[in-house]
């Protein structure tokens, strides 16, 4: 699915207007523990997280992830958004909980990476 689909499915808000919403997302990873995210390489992945600090963007960057969804209405600050913008990453924010956000995306066909 595309980043624009994720926005629609999660009723999410886009916090990085410059991002390319046509990019394809192939896999997803939902976690608040960054080392767990770093443990498995995924391709063109979206990170779904309830954690809100700059290490989330750095971790996603290390994994070449193209999109981060912050759940439960968490809003990253300007510094975090700037880091994401530098990397061309899309930052989304949804009111859904982690469980529901992952479930909605799974239901629409998005899957976890190959372990």
């Amino acid at each position: 699915m595309k980043i624009s689909d994720i926005i629609q499915i999660l009723d999410a808000q886009l916090l990085t207007p410059q991002a390319d919403l046509e990019r394809e997302v192939h896999t997803a990873c939902g976690s608040d523990m960054m080392s767990d995210v770093l443990a498995f390489v995924k391709d063109q992945s979206v990170l779904i997280t309830g954690l809100n600090n700059p290490q989330v963007v750095r971790t996603a960057d290390m994994m070449d992830m193209i999109c981060i969804v912050f759940v439960r209405g968490k809003r990253p600050d300007a510094g975090i958004l700037a880091l994401a913008n530098e990397r061309g990453m899309a930052i989304l924010c949804t009111e859904h909980t982690m469980f529901t956000a992952c479930g909605l995306l799974y239901e629409q066909g998005l899957r976890g990476g190959v372990h």
């Binding site: 608040d32 523990m33 080392s35 767990d36 997280t49 600090n53 290490q55 750095r58 290390m62 070449d64």
Partner: protein
């Protein structure tokens, strides 16, 4: 073997008191490796490994020093600190073992996967540590075909 003029040396200082800055060295290395044209898979392995090491310097060692040596054939990295050291390296290397306090965990680290991840993503990994003196890590990623 690459000759001396193909060698690039980089050095980074990792602060021990500013967790938000941890990862700057790895992000810089990653950007440089990309610009230099290293294969994407090797770039990712080196960047993830250095990032985990950098986080460890920030959260466990009160900061430290990173050196990187690049040749067309490999990415070699040294992490040195004068922190508390590791009493039992085998235990520290096991998946899930962590002494990170709750405040570090609430920042998304302390899953005890850092050292195992570093070993997993690198072709060479060596760690030496002395309690009260510090910890020294050397790791290398061999450059595979693009």
């Amino acid at each position: 073997m690459a000759d001396a003029q193909d060698k690039i040396l980089l050095e980074y200082q990792v602060p021990g008191d500013d967790f938000t800055r941890a990862g700057e060295a790895s992000a810089d290395l990653k950007a440089r490796l990309k610009t230099l044209g290293f294969p994407a898979a090797s770039v990712r392995k080196a960047a993830i490994s250095l990032y985990e090491g950098e986080i460890n310097l920030a959260i466990h060692a009160g900061g430290g020093k990173i050196r990187v040596e690049l040749t067309p054939a490999r990415i070699e990295m040294w992490l040195d600190d004068e922190g508390p050291g590791i009493p039992d390296i085998a235990l520290a290397m096991s998946e899930g073992y962590s002494t990170a306090p709750d405040e570090v965990r609430s920042l998304g680290f302390g899953a005890g996967m850092g050292l195992p991840n570093m070993k997993k993503y690198t072709d060479e990994f060596e760690i030496a540590s002395e309690v009260g003196r510090g910890t020294h890590i050397r790791m290398a990623v061999d450059i595979g075909p693009a």
